[in-house]
């Protein structure tokens, strides 16, 4: 061995010895919403406290993200160390053994501070499988000025009959003001999220205890008939194409008297930068029909660790940071209390500074608490989920049924035909999947 080669080897060994340990890189798949983007900008706080961990983000649109992470976790692809998943995925994936449980998060995390309804939706067999980053329910957002003009007063907990009366009174089609805006675009997370939640308040259910579809019930007929009646008489034109964003834009430009949708919309419609009606918005719980259930849903975007990840400890550290009380305070310090991710922790709603900054806080909390994923409707059901049924087949049948109801809103089929088709589609799928013989 020449002197030169020996010197080279020595130098290499020295370089390796003195170089810092390689940082562990976490790849995080996440959805594109305001709270998640804000978190990406604030991660310096985490990396400063954990210099041995690097973060790599993959941000995708919700449907693309769902397809992408489902493919990866089902095939044990190992592309992600942390995945952003919803309350629909958690029970299904946990039962498959695809997620690492998070019961051993440190005591300082204060797991008991998580809102019970949200925690319940992410718990399977007593174990928490994902930590909620932001949670939401649905509620009524209404124009206070139009209500006043109509000589009506919105109760905190309205009924569907009152909503219909108010919609009729506020509608002024000549001036492009529509009494009510609701989702009409087909999809299990679009119109079916709203209609399934609405049907719960009417006492309807997707399946009986033997998994037999229930679209031939009177309760579903009443739900769909009232929905179509509201939308055809007092809704905006072309409503069968409207989802969250379309209705948001209608409400922000002053064209909706009422809008029943995600609680997260409250911060958008009260933001004077984007909304022309920011100072004229009131909030109420989702309506009921006097049967003990309200028509509101429950959803949480949460962080989970795929069972195949090789970096479980580092991933848990990050999740504990991103969903902690300290993170909420960090956001408040940097961007104000109104921008704190809502719907996850009891302590947030007890904080007077948050109550002051977010006028919709009380109603959001009450809406979340009014939802029960284990007992979503009046009668017993064999499934978990308020605006969805936590079974793998639901994405397919939810969208197919949503297409029928959207077609009924567009007027291409009757309500009776849509319900008949929904029953047929659902029965066929459930039979194929072996739930019913």
């Amino acid at each position: 061995m020449t002197v030169f080669v020996r010197a080279l080897l020595g130098a290499t060994a020295l370089t390796l010895a003195v170089s810092p340990a390689l940082a562990e890189k976490l790849t995080i798949a996440t959805v594109n919403n305001g709270d998640m983007i804000r978190m990406q900008k604030l991660t310096d706080d985490f990396t400063a406290k954990n210099p041995d961990i690097e973060l790599e983000w993959v941000t995708l649109e919700e449907n693309v993200l769902r397809q992408r992470v489902t493919t990866d976790i089902a095939t044990n692809g190992g592309q992600y160390d942390i995945m952003t998943i919803g309350t629909y995925e958690v029970p299904i994936w946990a039962k498959q053994g695809w997620l690492v449980d998070l019961n051993d998060l440190p005591a300082s995390y204060d797991i008991d501070d998580l809102l019970p309804a949200i925690r319940g939706g992410l718990t399977v067999d007593g174990k928490l499988y994902a930590a909620p980053f932001y949670g939401e329910s649905s509620m009524v957002m209404y124009r206070t000025d139009l209500m006043k003009k109509a000589n009506l007063e919105m109760p905190d907990a309205p009924t569907w009959d009152f909503i219909k009366q108010a919609a009729a009174a506020m509608t002024d089609k000549n001036n492009e003001v529509y009494g009510i805006c609701l989702r009409g675009k087909a999809g299990w997370g679009e119109n079916m999220a709203f209609l399934t939640a609405m049907s719960n308040s009417y006492g309807a259910r997707w399946f009986d205890m033997d998994w037999k579809p229930q679209f031939d019930s009177e309760a579903w007929k009443a739900t769909l008939t009232d929905y179509l009646d509201l939308m055809n008489n007092y809704g905006p034109p072309g409503a069968s194409n409207n989802g969250f964003n379309e209705n948001l834009s209608l409400f922000q430009t002053g064209k909706c008297g009422m809008w029943i949708d995600a609680t997260v919309a409250a911060s958008f419609v009260t933001n004077p930068k984007d909304s022309t009606v920011a100072d004229k918005v009131g909030f109420a719980l989702a309506p009921d029909k006097g049967l003990g259930k309200r028509g509101n849903w429950l959803w949480a975007w949460s962080l989970g660790i795929p069972a195949g990840s090789q970096k479980v400890d580092a991933a848990k550290k990050f999740i504990a940071w991103a969903t902690s009380k300290d993170y909420l305070k960090l956001v408040a310090d940097k961007e104000g209390w109104a921008n704190v991710p809502p719907g996850t922790r009891t302590s947030l709603y007890e904080n007077p500074k948050y109550q002051e900054a977010a006028p919709f806080a009380k109603m959001t909390l009450e809406s979340i608490n009014a939802a029960d994923p284990q007992h979503p409707t009046v009668d017993e059901v064999p499934y978990v989920g308020v605006q969805f049924v936590a079974i793998p087949e639901f994405q397919g049948i939810g969208t197919a049924v949503g297409q029928q109801f959207s077609a009924a809103l567009a007027g291409t089929v009757t309500a009776d035909q849509a319900l008949k088709n929904a029953q047929m589609i659902t029965e066929r799928t459930m039979m194929k999947a072996g739930y019913i013989k």
Partner: protein
Amino acid sequence: MARRVSNRRKTLVTIVAWAVGIAIFFPILWTILTSFKTEAEAIASPPKFLFFDWTLENYAEVNSRSNYFLHFMNSVIISVGSTLLGLAIAIPAAWSMAFVPGKRTKDVLMWMLSTKMLPPVGVLIPIYLLFRDSGLLDTRLGLVIVLTLINLPIIVWMLFTYFKEIPGEILEAARMDGAGLWEEVVHVLTPMAVPGIASTLLLNIILAWNEAFWTLNLTAAKAAPLTAFIASYSSPEGLFYAKLSAASTLAIAPILVLGWFSQKQLVRGLTFGAVK
């Protein structure tokens, strides 16, 4: 004798051509305009066409949130790499089918085309598993391979059509002069088919650049091209049209410029052999 075209007819044809051109270009123009609006102006009703407060805030936001250059380089490497690899395989294949056809050449061509009829999602899981086991997930090499394979039938078909237009006698003459197979393909066939090869190359780069199923499903953080960059700006909850438009404008700008400068070559290639 050339047919005389009346002025009236000429004007009419020009108007129709402009109308079709504007209709095709309008969505792109609208995307570009929206990228300079605020989110509130992007959803304004009635829509604002030119008279709004022009802003660059969406470009600033996109630039601060994403690593555009990484996605851009991935798109360049994946689209150019898959096109060159595809041409290297397709030129000899198309040569043999055009000049030495066998009994089953037409069947082979049809079979190749039939692979394009399968919905990609039907083979997503098998390909994902193959990629996982061979360590190709989230790699540029993996995407170059898969995009080469999915675009190969189109490249072979296009080249086959161009090669068929070249008289076989010219190649025979080259052989009489002592040219071997290599010389025949490289020095005789290829120069004659340059317009066809060039248009195939350009079209394939555009197809690979815009491919948004495999590029989204087989990548994560490292190899994600501009399609993933665009997908990160769509949101089901919250206004995003202006930012999405800015991201889309940045993503289509390079290919738009390429198309603009190479349009003569593209048109020449696509109409090659159309008029005798």
